[in-house]
């Protein structure tokens, strides 16, 4: 009875971004004969999986009222490690890549927790510094995967469905359940909505925020490994500007920058909107240059619409 409604508990109304996704879907289906095919749809899912995975973690961090600008750099480092360490052992390479993301996320979170320095500044520094670490490790060289099992994994499918798409969707489902069904998820909203009150309510604010930074670090690293496997290579500049795309996706999905409000379902919509736009405009042979302008314009329009629609709700009590 309440099962479907309960599944979207707390954020029961249909998010505007999904209306936008459906509109885009119909628009491109009409405009391009190639758009509406199974191959293309799964293509979109594969293309969005990298940004999508990071966006899952970023949603948690942004609901917390923080931000992580270092995800692109963490992705680059983990991709380089995953390919670069394969000479020793592939398992070790992948583990090292994922651990690097977890450690850097933990470092970001720990610094934010202990020093009280704004997350924007901490992760801005990390964004520069981790990029420096990548160049230090790679010596400005690109790495190519010699291990074919690794390179094949990124393009493999289970039945007709690409593995990367499955991984992304499963992670999205897990993170959705964590956000809506667990105390960690509840605390995430509480901390973002009112940090002082959540300290009074006994939430260990510092640790809690650190865990969310670890989550986003892990997802950035996972995205790096999968991207490297998809390309069969890693370059030192991999992941540059990804933080912009990820934040764009999360904001499009309705998560508030000020914290306390957001959802994985919305983020999924935001990621898909960007993916469909890029794919659809590609199929319509719109030059890549225009796509940048259109995305910027859409992001600002969404902000304006959101401001107009949700102006009264800002005064309501949240959660």
């Amino acid at each position: 009875m309440t099962s479907i409604k309960g599944f979207f508990r707390g954020r029961a109304k249909i998010q505007p971004i999904w209306v936008f996704v459906i509109a885009l879907f119909i628009f491109f289906s009409v405009m391009s004969e190639y758009f509406l095919s199974f191959g293309n749809i799964s293509n979109i899912l594969v293309q969005t999986s990298t940004i999508g995975l990071i966006a899952l973690g970023m949603t948690f961090v942004m609901i917390n009222g923080n931000i992580d600008l270092s995800v692109g750099a963490i992705l680059g480092l983990s991709a380089s490690l995953a390919v670069g360490l394969q000479e020793i052992s592939m398992t070790l390479a992948i583990i090292a890549a994922l651990v690097s993301g977890i450690l850097l996320g933990a470092l970001n979170g720990f610094v934010v927790w202990k020093t009280g320095v704004n997350a924007f500044i901490v992760t801005l520094g990390a964004m520069l510094g981790v990029r420096g670490l990548i160049f230090l490790y790679t010596g400005e060289q690109s790495f190519f995967a010699m291990n074919f099992a690794f390179a094949d994994f990124g393009t493999s499918t289970i039945g007709p469905v690409p593995v990367l798409a499955i991984i992304f969707l499963i992670c999205a489902l897990i993170m959705h359940l964590v956000l809506t069904r667990t105390s960690h998820g509840r605390n995430t909203f509480a901390v973002g909505g009112n940090p002082e009150a959540s300290i009074d309510a006994g939430i260990r604010l510092g640790r809690h925020m650190m865990i969310n930074f670890i989550i986003v670090g892990f997802f950035a690293a996972l995205a790096g490994v999968l991207l490297a496997s998809q390309m069969g290579a890693a370059t030192p500049n991999l992941g540059r500007d990804y933080e912009l795309w990820v934040i764009t996706a999360v904001v499009l999905g309705g998560t508030k920058l000020t914290g306390g409000y957001g959802s994985i379902v919305g983020t999924l919509g935001g990621v898909l909107a960007i993916g469909i736009l890029r794919n659809g405009m590609n199929l319509m042979q719109v030059p890549a240059f225009y796509v940048l302008v259109i995305l910027g314009a859409i992001l600002i329009s969404v902000l304006i619409i959101d401001k107009k629609l949700n102006a009264p709700s800002a005064k309501e009590v949240r959660i």
Partner: protein, 336 residues
Amino acid sequence: MASTEQTKVGVPSGKLSKAGVLSFLSAQGILIFFLIGMFVFSFFSEQFLSQSNIMTVVRQASIIGIIAVGVTVVIIGGNLDLSVGSMLSFSTVLVVDLHDKIGPTNAILLMFALTLMIGAVNGFLIGFLRLNSLIVTLAMLSAIQGFVLIYSGGQNVDIANQENTWFAFFGRGFVGGIAVPVLMFGLLAIVIQVVMSYTGYGRRIFAVGGNPMAAVYSGIRKNWCVFSTYLISAFCVACAALVLGSRVMGSQNNVGQGYELLVLAGIILGGTSLLGGAGSIWKTVIGVLILGFIQNGLLLMGYPYYIQWIVTWVIIILAVWLDLANKRKRLFTSHS
């Protein structure tokens, strides 16, 4: 965004008491840090403190410095500007491309007009529609980059006749032995510092950044204040584009990529709080110079250039942390 610490501006007392000296020292902490850093670097490299090296570093830092002066005003007003890097690409490509087509004077005028227009768009969206500045300027970053690529067709632009044009003055010229970029940097910094400290306009920007509600209740037209900070930022970017285009006599279409981060790093090193309502142009100048000297010192010591990013990472966090710790009188946060 998560930090809720109160920022207090250290007010220097008139008498030279012990507390006064201490508060002066803590207020100028970044300057002391800078001097110690210079001292350490001079041990490792003999050329470091030579006059020509110092002039070179200041000249190289002046482009980032000119932009940082403008962005500091935006940040004092309580907002952010991440679009300055893309704007720098836009303005540089524009002025270099138009130089051959409509002459240097017209090119410069048109470039300033169009750059200020972009600033006005930013200012309108953030000042009047009150959208979040982080996201708006992030969106503008991508949109302006798109415009640059459309305009240039993805090609880099060059000035054909590089020998016989007075356009070279802005990037390569000297006035009284001082390089023009340094002169522009210094002049802009002084003028804007004076405006921010000694005029009613400057006080209003501080008020709007510090406590927007109180500012509105005391009759300050907040929308116009925020709007104007983005015009100042755009004007500074246009000046930087003039210097950059004239120095290189050409432009890549992504020349400004990443500048917004270096600019922010310089401002943060200078000790301007991202929360708004506090900060000074003078400290931004010091912060930008620290970045320049770190880069130069590490290069002279023989390290690859990307080591500076790692060092910058550590220094940014240390600088902001110690500043915060000083204000709250304890090193670590109290929450668990």
